[in-house]
């Protein structure tokens, strides 16, 4: 799209007062897909965590009381039941979490009927100290990836929100991870006021633009 008759002028100032050309890349066709740029913040703080496959391993570690170990294991399993990442097929799930790492959980109704899959929790983590006030979180396995003949190092586990967690020693129970890995992000912190002002939680009658 370009403005025709640009040279005619308006007779007043000699220049036009409208855009010379108006082009759209996204709205009119297949716009280029956005490429995500991951950023690393070197200043981020770290948290020390303990990783256990189950309450028994925690008790055997003799760092925490048996009662605490059992409670934390229970909490992590409850979180896993509610928050494990969901996949539309076993293959998709196993691609992320490895062979035999997934189980069926729930079905989708028609028209996209099918079974949903989630990875099984294989461990959980807690804060190294109670003062960290970290909630116990489930950990899921990651699939090993091999490119050509070289195995590419993968994190041992991922959290429900996808952050990688790797023990400092192979098979160990100690890890140091960024704060954002140890603590799940809060969501739904924006938007509530507009919905309540409009008195409608469900329909599209509310909107934030206008004036």
């Amino acid at each position: 799209m370009s403005s025709q008759d640009r040279k005619d002028g308006t007779g007043g100032t000699g220049g036009f007062k409208r855009s010379e050309a108006v082009t759209l890349v996204l709205l009119t066709g297949a716009g280029a897909a956005a490429v995500g740029l991951a950023r690393i913040d070197p200043s981020q703080q770290m948290e020390d965590i303990r990783i256990y496959p189950n309450a028994e391993a925690c008790i055997a570690g003799r760092v925490r009381t048996a009662v605490d170990c059992r409670i934390e294991d229970d909490v992590a399993r409850t979180v896993a039941a509610a928050r494990a990442p969901i996949y539309r097929s076993r293959a998709e799930c196993e691609a992320q979490h490895g062979l035999d790492a997934c189980e069926a959980r729930g079905v989708v109704a028609a028209p996209e009927a099918g079974t949903l899959y989630v990875p099984r929790m294989v461990a959980y983590f807690v804060g190294a100290t109670a003062a960290q006030k970290l909630d116990p979180q489930p950990l899921f396995p990651t699939a090993g990836v091999v490119y050509g003949v070289r195995a590419v190092a993968q994190p041992a586990y991922r959290t429900t929100w996808g952050c990688p967690v790797t023990p400092t020693t192979d098979g160990g129970s100690v890890a140091r991870v960024p704060v954002a890995t140890a603590r799940p992000p809060l969501l739904n912190g924006f938007g509530a006021t507009g919905r309540s002002i409009c008195g409608d939680e469900s329909s599209a009658s509310h909107h934030g633009g206008g004036g």
Partner: protein, 387 residues
């Protein structure tokens, strides 16, 4: 300024579909109306709209500078105290703004009178910058308008230039209520402009914005958001659960928090106090100010936060002419001298003057049957008549 029955193009709906304009009718009611158009002279545009817009925007920036240093002003605008540091810091950093729209009562005679400044979440942007522009080009090509006809509308290229000039890492997240079609359309248009400016864009529903344990706003991949365009007013964001986290976060916002000072009807009372004899400003006072009595028996009462004409009360000769319903008003009101919208064939156009960055950039007209412009107003295109 004339209202010209120019006739709609028989295929304009197809043109709209080809160009991504999918909200030309809302809730089954038409919104874009090209059966007629408003014609301006170049002098009307430049002397009566463009120049006063530049001057008033500059006055507004002076006011922000004053407001951030004066807690009484921030309190008078009912900006919550917990948001003051975010407002102040964003201004002191000179966080850039993207756009805003000054709304005027103007009918071609006398100075345009500022009714309000939609400085935070104005819509009707795509319709102005793209579809109105295409309409003019089409009418020129079809010979409906003579060569040399023009339009006050550099909105599109100014938006792209503004995005291109933004500092930062080249990323931009954009957010709105994804399920609201007009909002989603406006944000998709801005994303289009931002991509043309080379920015790496990502749309997020408001609910997808997260706050991580380091106090960073993060996207749905948990990547920190460096810059966020939000089609969501600051007064709502400040009241939300994340409203207290804005100042501590490193995210930069479009519009920046300091726009909360301008997107507030209290601005109108302060501007009038700063420049009581300004030809484009109407006498305006906070409700309860004894000076409001000087307005006499005719005035308009507006809630500080109201948008789209909601909760506006119009009084003429002590009679309530119009009272619009809506959710606003608990935060307080201003009273503004009555400046009726002009009457063209029984229709009332409101002139919206776009500011992109800090420069006037174009015009849109929304037309109503009644004296208050609400979200049921029609968008009507305009042109500058060839000499």
């Amino acid at each position: 300024m004339r209202r010209v029955p120019i006739g709609e193009r028989p295929d304009w709906r197809e043109v709209a579909a080809r160009n991504g304009f999918h909200f030309h009718s809302l809730d089954g009611e038409p919104y874009w109306d090209e059966s007629h158009a408003y014609a301006f002279t170049l002098a009307e545009i430049e002397a009566d709209i463009e120049a006063p817009s530049a001057e008033l925007h500059a006055l507004c920036l002076d006011f922000v500078d004053r407001a951030v240093g004066d807690e009484r002003i921030l309190a008078s605008l009912h900006i919550p105290r917990h948001a003051w540091d975010a407002v102040r810091a964003s201004w002191r950093r000179r966080d850039p703004s993207l756009y805003g729209r000054l709304d005027f009562a103007y009918g071609g005679t006398g100075p345009a009178k500022l009714l309000e400044y939609n400085a935070d979440t104005p819509t009707a942007l795509y319709e102005t910058g793209v579809f109105q522009w295409l309409w003019l080009e089409d009418l020129l090509a079809r010979g409906t308008l003579p060569a040399g006809s023009d339009q006050y509308n550099a909105v599109h290229e100014r938006l792209i230039a503004r995005f291109r000039a933004l500092p930062g890492d080249g990323s931009l997240a954009l957010t709105a209520y994804a399920e609201a079609p007009e909002d989603r359309g406006t944000v998709a248009y801005l994303e289009d402009c931002a991509r043309q400016a080379g920015l790496d864009c990502r749309f997020l529903d408001l609910s997808e914005i997260g706050l991580d344990a380091l106090g960073r706003f993060v996207d749905d991949r948990r990547v920190p958001i460096a810059r966020l365009f939000k089609l969501y007013p600051w007064e709502w964001a400040f009241a939300d659960a994340f409203g207290r986290e804005i100042d501590a976060s490193a995210t930069r916002f479009l519009e920046p928090p300091w726009k909360a000072v301008l997107s507030n009807k209290g601005l109108l009372a302060h501007l009038h106090a700063m420049e009581p004899h300004h030809p484009n400003l109407l006498p305006t006072y906070f409700d309860g100010d004894p000076a409001a009595g000087s307005l006499g028996a005719s005035y308009v009462r507006k809630p500080l936060y109201s948008r789209e004409g909601a909760n506006i009360l119009m009084v003429e000769n002590d009679r309530v002419v119009v009272q619009d319903a809506g959710p606003y008003g608990a935060e307080g009101h201003v009273r503004q001298a009555l400046a009726p919208l002009p009457d063209f064939d029984g229709r009332r156009p409101l002139v919206g003057s776009w500011i992109v960055g800090d420069v006037p950039a174009g015009l849109c007209i929304r037309e109503s049957a009644g004296p208050i412009t609400t979200n049921a107003a029609l968008f009507v295109p305009h042109y500058i008549a060839a000499v």
